[in-house]
């Protein structure tokens, strides 16, 4: 299975019935395709709607109905629309149950870095968008990312090297190799890819982690 697809499938298992959920861009968007049968969530789009559905067919679109990526969406029965102040009141005010966000780096203190790529000394692109609000306001923050970068270097770190999006905000880290819970005493390994032993995982992970007594194989189904 393609690793990004596995991550999205695993991340979908974090969602519970009835939750208000905000999915970030990139890998998290794909999570919507894997939400388990019987789990109904209320998806929020930060540009100002609740209960959006799939991309419309050509001819069914509306130039005034788009998601936070500027792309056409449909609205489901029960949808609602609001301005940005309300949308971020929802986010910052603790009314979002779970957010799943892509990350450039995460660390063992529960920090996530996903907004700043240096383009010149002291200058960053692309910007944090709504990510800082989400990590600060959502009740449960899940980071999804590849375990290693293209050069094989761990992205699960002792300490983030890029400017962080939020300090100590993560509850769960999902990579293509493992699932970690972030606890006050550090990371706890909960699930591991079937091809790896714990020692092999340690060898490819910069962060320190403890191993859960309930350690199990990486889950793709509930």
């Amino acid at each position: 299975m393609e690793t990004k697809d596995a991550i999205a499938r695993r991340a979908a298992l974090e969602l519970a019935n009835g939750e208000v959920v905000n999915l970030g861009f990139g890998m998290p968007t794909a999570v919507a395709n894997h939400i388990p049968e019987g789990v109904n969530v209320i998806l929020q789009s930060e540009n100002g709607c609740l209960m959006f559905g799939p991309t419309p067919a050509l001819g069914e679109q509306d130039g005034d109905v788009a998601n936070a990526g500027g792309q056409p969406i449909t609205l489901l029965p029960g949808a609602s629309i609001f301005d940005l102040a309300t949308s971020f009141g929802i986010i910052r005010g603790g009314h979002v149950d779970t957010t799943i966000l892509g990350a450039l780096e995460v660390d063992q203190e529960g920090c996530i870095a996903n907004w700043a790529m240096p383009v010149a000394p002291g200058k960053y692109s692309p910007g944090m968008g709504g990510a800082m609000d989400l990590v600060g306001g959502a009740r449960k923050v899940v980071a999804v990312l590849q375990h290693a970068d293209k050069k094989g270097r761990s992205k699960v770190l002792k300490k983030c090297t890029l400017p962080i999006t939020g300090k100590g905000v993560l509850k769960t880290i999902i990579t293509d190799k493992a699932v970690f819970e972030v606890t006050p005493t550090g990371l706890v390994l909960k699930e591991i890819a079937p091809e790896l032993t714990v020692d092999e995982l340690k060898a490819i992970t910069d962060a320190d982690f403890a191993v859960s007594q309930d350690l199990c194989e990486y889950r793709l189904h509930s």
């Binding site: 679109q61 130039g63 990526g69 609205l75 383009v119």
Partner: protein
């Protein structure tokens, strides 16, 4: 109380160095005609205030302003969708002030609502905190974020009456109702201008007192066609089947 104006007359009054706030979110709910005319006017050294930048990939809505180097400073939550702006940043031609999106909108709201600033926990412990006052209240920490206003606010709506009451439509209201409150001169670009009484009061999203001028944007039919072309050309809607 007829506030209907010619867009060209308003644009002609904008001076180099002005601060302009634009409603819209990646082109959706953006005052597209106003932006086009500001680009064509060549006005420069602008401070542009917009919650995000252009439709992803550039070339649409705000992107030409950055391509032409008409913007000196950009106050936003995100600029990565606009290659033209990223290029200007790299070249040192553009300063960008980043704020978390929820903070950005509250700063604008504060300016329009007569508040001296906003207290928010968002951004604590990050670069956003640099140079800002931190307050402890009831054992919790907050950053003090100052109001954000502009000389001009350009908003986009579905319809306006000639007094300036604006009706929004769909998920395109985004930053528009808040921006309307926070500029010295607010221009509402709409698809349709109707007589006073033509909008149900319960459908007014921005009351007329916030609006200084109403201008005709794309007709509703053209507005829909613009987005169909945009979304088809960027692969977001399936292209029409061509006859074999």
């Amino acid at each position: 109380m007829d506030k209907v104006r010619q867009l060209d007359d308003i644009i002609a009054g904008i001076k180099d160095g002005a601060t302009i706030m634009f409603g819209g979110f990646l082109g959706v709910g953006s005052p597209l005609k106003s932006i086009e005319k500001i680009v064509a006017s060549g006005v420069k050294d602008l401070t542009v205030v917009s919650v995000v930048n252009s439709y992803p990939g550039g070339g649409f809505d705000l992107a030409p302003l950055f391509k032409n180097r008409q913007v000196r400073k950009f106050v936003t939550a995100h600029t990565g969708t606009c290659p033209e702006a990223v290029e200007a940043m790299k070249a040192g031609d553009l300063d960008v002030d980043f704020f978390p999106m929820g903070t950005w909108i509250e700063k604008v709201r504060a300016a329009g609502a007569g508040l001296g600033g906003v207290l928010t926990p968002i951004g604590l412990g990050t670069l956003v905190e640099d140079g800002k006052q931190r307050l402890e209240i009831d054992g919790k920490s907050y950053l003090v974020e100052m109001p954000l206003r502009a000389d001009y606010g350009f908003i986009a709506g579905y319809r306006a009456d000639t007094m300036g009451n604006v009706e929004y439509r769909g998920v395109s209201l985004n930053s528009n109702p808040v921006i309307a409150t926070a500029a010295d001169f607010t221009v509402a670009e709409v698809n349709e201008i109707v007589e006073v009484g033509g909008i149900d009061p319960s459908r007014v999203g921005t009351p007329c007192l916030f609006v200084d001028a109403v201008v005709q944007g794309h007709s509703f039919a053209e507005h829909q066609a613009v987005f169909e072309r945009l979304w088809v050309s960027t692969g977001r809607l399936a292209a029409p089947a061509t006859a074999a």
